[in-house]
């Protein structure tokens, strides 16, 4: 029962905050609601017994991405300009609604092979074994640092002041 209530609280918080991000005029309020949305998604992860990913969600999304977005808003001084919709507002709404109804129709009409087994209690050690163990995910794990290095170099080169 408690899990059901928690799911609905987190689901309503997630959807409401996401709607606020796309509908509010003030960009800074959108950014704060984006952080709220990420926090509610971390709660959803905990309900799905993914404790390590909930911690990573808070560290990476709220700690890094949220701060970065707010910093970019501060640097570009577009808060007063707001975020109006462009001329594709109605077509975009129709596309999003069609996509949403199509996916929900597919979800409801598919017979999922639900397993009744209990989930792993603490996922951190299980994830470590899964990634670093035999037949694990070592190659993707090695690619991620390369991607991050390229990101750091790219961000520095892009933001560097060329006039000096």
């Amino acid at each position: 029962m408690g899990q059901v209530i928690a799911f609905w609280v987190f689901a309503v918080a997630t959807i409401g905050a996401a709607l606020g991000v796309v509908l509010l005029k003030n960009v800074f309020r959108s950014a704060v609601l984006l952080v709220t949305c990420f926090l509610a998604i971390a709660g959803i992860f905990i309900l799905l017994s993914a404790d390590f990913l909930a911690a990573m969600q808070i560290l990476i999304y709220i700690g890094a991405i949220g701060i970065l977005v707010i910093l970019a808003i501060m640097l570009t001084k577009q808060v007063t300009l707001g975020s109006p919709s462009n001329k594709f507002k109605v077509p975009a709404l129709i596309i999003a609604a069609l996509f949403c109804s199509g996916v929900i129709y597919a979800i409801v009409n598919t017979h999922w092979q639900i397993s009744g087994a209990a989930p792993t209690a603490a996922t951190t050690s299980g994830l470590g074994i899964k990634i670093f163990g035999t037949n694990g995910f070592i190659l993707p794990l090695e690619i991620i640092p390369t991607v991050l290095l390229a990101t750091i170099l790219g961000a520095i080169v892009l933001v560097k002041d060329r006039n000096k």
Binding site: V4, V27, A50, L53, A64, S85, I95, F99, A150, T151
Partner: protein
């Protein structure tokens, strides 16, 4: 009433559609980037829900979500660097006025 796989998948689909609308219908480049972040988070919810309900002991979906998070962080950093660079050169981040590559 119990919360099953369908509930999480529908939540994920609704969240993805909200992000899709924001990415298609907004002027401000930073708001478009924020909408893309919402879409990526929605996909993570779907991956972890599948991992929890279909193969509860395998954790493969959680590993996928972990890699998706790493790539999302990199994508945000480069995206915001591009937006700040454009703002320096053109004094605007209105996606409709950024038409440098239009022929």
């Amino acid at each position: 009433m119990t919360i099953g796989l369908e509930h999480y998948l529908i939540l994920s689909a609704v969240l993805f559609s909200i992000g899709l609308y924001g990415a298609l219908a907004k002027h401000n480049a930073i708001v478009i980037l924020m909408s893309i972040e919402i879409m990526l988070s929605a996909v993570n919810i779907a991956l972890i829900a599948f991992s929890r309900f279909i193969v509860p002991t395998a954790l493969t979906g959680q590993v996928f979500a972990l890699f998706a998070m790493g790539v999302a962080a990199a994508e945000t950093a480069v995206g915001l660097a591009i937006i700040i660079s454009i703002y320096r050169n053109k004094e605007t981040i209105d996606a409709n006025k950024i038409d440098l590559m239009k022929w």
